[in-house]
C-alpha cells in the first residue's frame, strides 16, 4: 500500500509508455484494482448522496404542489 512509483510521469505519458498491451482496450485489471476503483467511485458518489436533499428541491416541489410556481420556475 505504501509502495511508491519512483518516477512521476504524467498519467497519459506513463500509460502509453508502459501499457501498450492495455491501450487496445482489453481489460486486464486484477480484481483488487477493480475493487479499489469501485471503492473510490462509490466514495465520491456517496459523498454527494450523504448531503441529502437540499432545501431548494423540497421547496420547489412543494411550491408546485401548492399551485404557485410553474414550469418557468428556476
Amino acid at each position: 500500500m505504501n509502495e511508491r512509483k519512483p518516477v512521476g510521469l504524467k498519467p497519459m505519458e506513463s500509460a502509453h509508455a508502459n501499457r501498450g498491451s492495455k491501450a487496445d482496450g482489453r481489460p486486464k485489471l486484477s480484481r483488487d484494482v477493480q475493487a479499489r476503483l469501485g471503492q473510490q467511485l462509490r466514495a465520491m458518489y456517496d459523498g454527494v448522496v450523504s448531503q441529502g436533499v437540499p432545501d431548494r428541491f423540497a421547496e420547489l416541489i412543494d411550491r408546485i404542489n401548492s399551485g404557485n410556481g410553474h414550469k418557468d420556475e428556476r
Binding site: M1, N2, E3, R4, K5, P6, V7, G8, L9, K10, P11, M12, S14, A15, N18, R19, K22, A23, G25, R26, P27, K28, L29, S30, D32, V33, Q34, A35, R36, L37, G38, Q39, Q40, L41, R42, A43, M44, Y45, D46, G47, V48, V49, S50, Q51, G52, V53, P54, R56, F57, A58, L60, I61, I64, N65, S66, G67, K71, E73, R74
Partner: protein
C-alpha cells in the same frame, strides 16, 4: 397539479443520487443542481407518462441524462472547476483512501469519455443493473458492459495502476496533478 404523496416522496428520495449523477456528468455542483431542478420540473410536467409501480429513480435518471445530452453537453465540461468546487462541496472525504489518491481518481474520472463515465457511474455507483443502465442510456446491454470495462481500464491507465500497490502517487505525481492541465 397536486401530486400523489407517494410520487412526491419518491421524487425527493431520488434527489441525492440524481445530484451525484449530475455532478459526475457535468463536473460542476451549481450546474448539476440546476440540472436536477430542470429534471424535476420536466418530470412533474410529464408525470402522466410515469408508470406507477416502475422505478421512479430510473425514470428521473433517464430524463436527467437526456436533458444533459441535449442542453449541457454542448458546453465543455469544466474540469478545472470540477475539482476545487466539487471538493469543497464534500463535507468529508474517506480518510482511509487518502486525499491524494481520491483527488487523482476524480481527475482521471473527469478525463474519461462521457459515454464511459456515465456507464461506469450508473453501474458502479448508482446501483443500477446493466439492463437498467442500458435503458437509461438508450443503448444495448452489451454496449454498457463494454463501456464499463473500457472505463475501468482507462482509469487504471490514467492513474498509472498495474496492481493495487500502485495506489498512492509520489510527490512528483502530486505536483503534476496539482499544477497540470
Amino acid at each position: 397539479m397536486a401530486m400523489d404523496e407517494s410520487v412526491r416522496k419518491a421524487m425527493l428520495g431520488a434527489v441525492p443520487s440524481l445530484r451525484a449523477f449530475a455532478i459526475s456528468l457535468c463536473g460542476n455542483v451549481d450546474r448539476a443542481d440546476d440540472l436536477v431542478q430542470e429534471t424535476l420540473l420536466r418530470a412533474i410536467a410529464n408525470i402522466n407518462s410515469f408508470q406507477p409501480g416502475t422505478n421512479m429513480s430510473a425514470w428521473l435518471f433517464t430524463i436527467l441524462r437526456n436533458h444533459f445530452r441535449s442542453e449541457y453537453r454542448k458546453r465543455r465540461r469544466e474540469v478545472e472547476d470540477a475539482d476545487g468546487h466539487y471538493a469543497e462541496s464534500l463535507k468529508s472525504h474517506p480518510d482511509q483512501l487518502g486525499q491524494v489518491e481520491f483527488r487523482e481518481f476524480r481527475e482521471a474520472l473527469a478525463q474519461l469519455p462521457p459515454d464511459q463515465r456515465e456507464a461506469l457511474v450508473l453501474v458502479g455507483a448508482s446501483g443500477f443493473s446493466y439492463e437498467e443502465a442500458a435503458n437509461i442510456c438508450g443503448c444495448a446491454v452489451g454496449t454498457i458492459k463494454s463501456r464499463v470495462n473500457r472505463a475501468r481500464t482507462r482509469l487504471a491507465e490514467l492513474m498509472d495502476i498495474d496492481n493495487v500497490e500502485d495506489f498512492g502517487p509520489d510527490q512528483q505525481t502530486q505536483a503534476v496533478l496539482a499544477g497540470g492541465k
